[in-house]
Point group: C2
Chain length 349, copies 2
């Protein structure tokens, strides 16, 4: 047994068939095999069939690394998610995947989990893979790594975040408007003391929603002190519960009659805390969330929420990056979607 055969047996992994193998089996040149693969019209019916037959017999699978190396570009996009455990982002991811698949591109999903170091590693990996483009919901939209990547030639689109006055594609939702819609709704329903639950305020999202909320409040001519800002450490269910306790701890005079939460996870936590401590929703406390994830509508008291067009966000992001990679005179674009209030029982009673 020669060395090659030995190592092959040991590895247990037979060398996959290559175009060369297919070519010799079909009695043609490798160039022809490649033509069958890439421009079937350039090759006669008869030989095409012979080659395809050989491929089937050998179980030929095209080696994408080699293809990519020669062609100089890959057929794949990547989306770096901020938090895979938040259904909002998985929906965005599915929108991206769909749109990419329609353009016969494959999508790699990665996951930073809000950790900047991890995000860096993921990006490095993707750059090494020479993906066509990177879609990302960054931990920090201002981060320089994004610029470095772009400087090296990989296209990047920012998803669900924006960058001030920058020349980069992004898709996002008008969070200030969302905040306004939420608070206007609460004011319409007669609430005159309202809590804004969210944080940390280092997140642009949170800042904008808060800004919209307080703007609506001022516009209605209500006293500034009666819009209470309750800061949270994260946008999680736990923190929602904590916020609920803090609200319960306030004196009756100061206690808000409604809460606007910066996302649905917070709202669900708050809802749970309220209900389990015997407060009625919305009579004792009205609650409004943000994102309108599936679980918001599924809560025991269905949650009013500000809906973002999640799938569409993803689809548009994919469209933008495809344009950027294909179209020589691509113009950077910041698409801003309009959120929509979905009123349910948690504010309607």
């Amino acid at each position: 047994m020669n060395r090659a055969a030995m190592s092959r047996a040991k590895a247990g992994r037979p060398r996959p068939a290559s175009v060369k193998d297919v070519a010799s089996r079909a009695g043609v040149s490798v160039g022809t095999v490649s033509n069958v693969l890439n421009r079937p019209d350039r090759v006669s019916e008869a030989t095409r069939q012979r080659v395809e037959q050989a491929m089937a017999e050998l179980g030929f699978i095209r080696n994408e690394s080699a293809r990519q190396l020669r062609a100089g570009k890959s057929r794949s996009l990547a989306y770096v998610m901020l938090d895979a455990s938040n259904p909002f982002f998985t929906d965005v991811a599915m929108g991206i995947e769909d749109a990419a698949a329609r353009a016969s591109m494959s999508t790699f999903l990665c996951h930073s989990g809000g950790d900047a170091a991890r995000e860096r590693t993921q990006l490095q990996l993707l750059e090494q893979q020479r993906v066509q483009g990177i879609l990302i919901t960054p931990v920090d939209p201002g981060s320089a790594v994004i610029d470095e990547i772009r400087a090296r030639g990989t296209h990047v689109v920012i998803v669900d975040r924006t960058r001030q006055g920058d020349t980069i594609c992004s898709v996002s939702v008008d969070d200030e408007l969302g905040g306004r819609l939420a608070v206007e709704h609460l004011i319409d329903r007669g609430h005159r003391r309202v809590a804004f639950v969210g944080g940390p305020h280092s997140i642009g999202q949170v800042r904008d929603r808060w800004a919209g909320a307080s703007e609506a409040w001022r516009a209605a001519g209500l006293p500034e002190d009666d819009l209470v800002r309750l800061d949270t450490e994260r946008l999680s269910v736990d923190e929602g519960r904590v916020a609920g306790q803090r609200i319960a701890g306030l004196s009756t005079r100061r206690r808000p009659t409604a809460a606007f939460c910066a996302n649905d996870l917070l709202a669900l936590g708050l809802l749970q805390q309220a209900v389990t401590t015997g407060r009625r929703v919305p009579d004792d406390l009205a609650i409004i969330g943000y994102d309108d994830i599936e679980f918001a509508a599924a809560a025991a008291v269905p949650l009013t929420s500000v809906r973002q067009p999640r799938q569409q966000l993803g689809e548009t992001a994919a469209r933008l990056i495809l344009d950027e990679t294909d179209n020589p005179d691509h113009q950077h674009e910041s698409v801003v979607f309009t959120p929509e209030l979905v009123a349910r029982r948690s504010t309607l009673g």
Copy 2:
């Protein structure tokens, strides 16, 4: 301007620096650059620094395609998820990613969405990428495509499913035991008429949980007719609501006092339907779910659920595939985890 420069300018994407560029800038050979990259100990301190400097200046990023082509293998795993919108699977995915990262492997996440055709496409793509191994929660565990892939040399581990008497690695959870635990708990709590909500029964999971449930029922010597099987079309929140209506529609004599749902999504839907139509949980209807996703604990009436070690499932799957690819005398293994009942208010009152 020559043609190369023109097309380069037009594409707007400068050709990234290669080892050759780095080599000439550092005044060494390409072999040396490669050594710096792969066995830094083989190269003197001085040249190493020179090369690293050159890399930094040129913004060199290793081309993974070329690396892979030459080395014959990739540094990546893939997980094909069944349903990204179910938090259970994202948790499993995170477990896989963590374990893979620890072994300095990157992970590609794909998503079949329960669609066999889509699954096939994804698998084909992954095979073309020559990933080291594929982890998959298959649409149909019995499908032949899995065998074909393995026959061609790519290792596969089945996640959260099993295959009868087959020689393939898998990780799963003892669903029959889970079903038993759930129903025993309900019997303990005094329930004598119980519904099993789940379907379709073509899913192994559902069958096993049902089997465990009816076994526990028989073992307690209770009349078979009093364990009612309510079939659903899918394992979704919607279907949970439908099941709730069906339960409500039963005559008082026949109506169960508790429901065991085949997953948490169903349970949440059922819970919502019950609560919004004025039934009290657990007094009028006790509910128990399966998976113990985060939203189960976060429900207004916190859900009793059967917990599966999700992260650990993922980690173990990753461990298995790494062993299979690295260890020449790897033995196939079917790891079965033990589920655990987490009792909360939806059954405790």
